[in-house]
């Protein structure tokens, strides 16, 4: 590290305005990637301030530095091992006690830090007055009041950061537990000190007493005697208090946080209920909450689909205008157009018109706080498939596109829930599947049959989710979630999050779509499609009762599902499917059912690999193909039996 290069990390609870501060600090110089080997997002940016080059790392929003979630482990390893020059702890002034609990843990990690006392405006509205000077004195670290959206205090935050880095921290608060606990901490610290760990000895002693598994594992390898000593000491504390040692220490830490909060804040509740409180009561209302949610979701979907449909059509007309240029240059032109260009167009006409507004609305709702209310309302339903309320959000995303939905499953806390959620999400009919359902069954068989297919799909999702939940080892976790006060979303932050998500999608999906369409085009040019259709005919014709030609279209569907329909029209030479011999309502329904279930498209497979690794991605893919074929065959026979047409 050069002399002028400084690393600052932003840490704090979720939804305290951390990313808004991050955006103000770093402007356009941002980079969002993943933590090495993890599916947790890592946002980094650079700024220049008074001759310093400052790298800012935005750590994930967390409530504690224990090891419950990957985010917590990443944050504490980063702070303890990578040793940033300074940690800016962003604190929500309107929920001071809870936020200080986290601050105290940072203090215990003995990292140089300052506190950004953010959301002062919301605190004021709630009638909370905070004496930040007093807080500064108690904590022993600088405390800067800020209102992130209007940039209040941001300059001072930077100035103070640089000062602290140059001159060193003042003496931060030393957190004192009860004497009987302190005694044990001292005894353990003396033992730990000799090990020369990258963490402060006192912190390791505290974590050992708390029974932190990760630290225990490390100590076990180095000196198992220390571990047995700590277990003995923890037992003693447990005997004195009648609670586990971990409970005692967390309680005491919260007590200290509470004392400090009471010391520095004065609360005069406003006479009139603030608007955001009224909005909260309304949107989580036992009866009214549900119709409001339904109205919000339906209007979101309706506007996105109408916008997407219009823009998508407009863009493809525009791009297909270039086709004649390629037609003049023979087979290479055909490969370039059919393989490369069409793949690219497919990506653009799907990604931009549907995903862009989808992400915008989603982040808008998330930033405002409404998504956590939806999670609250839907928790019960999601529990039936072993998930909790938060999983409803990626599922909603899945109706737009399965790719961001898979990535969105990162909000689930444990690996097990992430797996179930991702599996369920890949069965949700995405925008492309909707095109097939409405364009084939809806248009040629009847809208009621299209709706029935949706119902069948939802039932399948429910049933398979429940089976996965029962079959997978491990325990389901419940919902624990803070419901933050509603706030006006910060426009620039929402736009930036949207852009980064879109970029992530483009980088992952585009190469796959293009490579995939190239391979299929090549197969077509080499005349391999017909033989492939013949090979598949026992399944397509024999079991599913479909025309042999559908084998080819289903292969194309791997690229993008709505291609099954477009290819069908191309190969049949007509888009009036009703006129085609041997392709009646039964075949249309079976075909749509199979297309709906049979495979996550190639981009979704890419997302699965990224999130779960090759093996699980492969298993899910193979399972869904087999499942679709089985269900399709059964449906075919049932429909024949019903003899409706």
């Amino acid at each position: 590290m050069t002399k002028n290069r400084i690393i600052i990390a932003l840490a704090g609870n979720a939804n305290v305005g951390k990313s808004v501060i991050f955006n103000h600090l770093t402007g356009m110089h941002q980079h969002i990637g993943n933590w090495p080997g993890k599916t947790v997002e890592r946002a980094e940016g650079t700024l220049h301030f008074k001759g310093h080059t400052i790298d800012v790392v935005d750590l994930p929003g967390i409530y504690s530095l224990s090891t419950f979630s990957i985010e917590e482990v990443i944050s504490r390893e980063y702070i303890a091992i990578e040793n940033p020059n300074l940690v800016i702890n962003v604190v929500d002034a309107s929920v001071l006690e809870r936020n200080l609990f986290f601050t105290l843990q940072l203090v215990e990690l003995e990292t140089p830090m300052i506190v950004a006392l953010n959301q002062m405006d919301i605190a004021k509205e709630k009638g909370i007055k905070i004496d930040h000077k007093k807080l500064e004195k108690i904590l022993g670290v600088p405390v800067i009041p800020t209102v992130a959206p209007t940039q209040v205090g941001i300059y001072k935050l930077l100035q103070t950061s640089v000062d602290i880095i140059e001159k060193g921290n003042a003496t931060p608060l030393k957190i004192q537990y009860g004497e009987e606990v302190e005694e044990k901490i001292r005894e353990l610290s003396r033992l730990v000190e000799r090990l020369k760990l990258p963490y402060p000895a006192r912190w390791v002693a505290i974590k050992l007493l708390e029974g932190d598994e990760q630290i225990e594992d490390k100590i076990r390898q180095l000196d198992p005697k220390i571990l047995s000593a700590s277990k003995k000491l923890a037992k003693e504390i447990e005997r004195i208090h009648g609670h586990s040692c971990s409970t005692v220490m967390t309680s005491e830490r919260y007590e200290i946080a509470g004392c400090i909060a009471r010391e520095v804040q004065q609360i005069v509740p406003p006479v009139k209920l603030p608007k955001r409180e009224k909005l909260h009561a309304l949107t989580t209302h036992k009866v009214l909450g549900y119709p409001i949610m339904a109205a919000v979701i339906l209007s979101v979907f309706f506007s996105i689909f109408s916008f997407g449909d219009y823009t998508s059509g407009f863009l493809s007309d525009l791009f297909y205008g270039f086709e004649p240029i390629f037609q003049d240059i023979g087979i290479i032109g055909e490969l370039l157009w059919g393989g490369v260009a069409e793949g690219l167009i497919a990506g653009i006409t799907i990604a931009l018109p549907y995903l862009l507004p989808f992400y915008l609305v989603l982040y808008f709702l998330e930033d405002s706080g409404y998504l956590s209310r939806i999670a609250f309302l839907m928790d019960n339903l999601m529990h039936k498939i072993g998930l909790h309320g938060k999983a409803f959000i990626p599922m909603m995303l899945g109706f737009g596109c399965n790719v961001p939905a898979c990535l969105g499953c990162r909000i689930m806390e444990t690996d097990r829930e992430r797996l179930i959620a991702i599996f369920v999400v890949t069965l949700v009919p995405c925008a492309a599947t909707t095109v097939i359902i409405l364009g084939l069954v809806g248009a040629f068989v009847g809208v009621q049959w299209a709706l029935l297919l949706y119902v069948v799909d939802l039932l399948i999702i429910f049933a398979l989710g429940r089976i996965a939940f029962k079959a997978l080892p491990g325990e389901p976790t419940g919902l624990i979630m803070e419901m933050h006060d509603y706030k006006v979303p910060h426009g620039a932050t929402v736009v930036k999050q949207t852009w980064f998500r879109l970029e992530e999608f483009i980088k992952m999906a585009f190469p796959l779509i293009i490579a995939g369409s190239f391979v299929i085009k090549l197969a077509e040019v080499l005349g391999l499609l017909e033989p492939i259709a013949d090979v598949l005919s026992p399944v397509t014709v024999g079991w599913l009762g479909l025309p042999a030609i559908t084998g080819i279209t289903l292969i194309f569907g791997v690229l993008r599902k709505e291609l099954t329909l477009i290819m069908l029209a191309t190969l049949l030479g007509t888009s009036n499917f009703a006129a085609v011999q041997g392709f009646g309502p039964v075949q249309m329904i079976v075909f749509t059912l199979v297309a709906m279930l049979y495979i996550p498209c190639i981009s979704t497979i890419g997302a699965l690999v990224k999130e779960l690794g090759w093996k699980k991605a492969y298993l899910i893919t193979v399972f869904e193909i087999a499942f679709a074929i089985i269900v399709g065959g059964i449906a075919y026979r049932l429909l024949l039996l019903a003899n409706i047409w």
Binding site: Y63, H243, M483
Partner: protein, 85 residues
């Protein structure tokens, strides 16, 4: 805690009231869930107020330590509170 009515308050006695076989034998999970509840501020001795519960056995909205928490019914079942009436 699931016995509290809307608007009622209580003081947490313990956050691990179900018999251990309920959680299986995996220590990490038990430790993890209890720790999670405590990290969110639901420690013994803390005063909690039930604001409302969602219908059909849905989650419960709590007021605790000046913040608003949503907590699933299964988790809430594990929290033993004493009620001051």
């Amino acid at each position: 805690m699931t016995h509290l009515k809307d608007g009622e308050s209580g003081v947490i006695i313990s956050t691990n009231t179900l018999p251990s076989h309920h959680f299986g034998s995996h220590r990490h999970h038990r430790w993890g869930f209890q720790k999670r509840l405590e990290d969110m501020g639901l420690t013994p001795g803390t005063k909690v107020t039930v604001v409302k519960s969602a219908p059909f056995h849905g989650p419960i909205e709590l007021q605790v330590r000046g913040s608003r928490l949503a907590i699933g019914r299964g988790m809430a079942d594990r929290i033993l509170v004493s009620v001051e009436r």
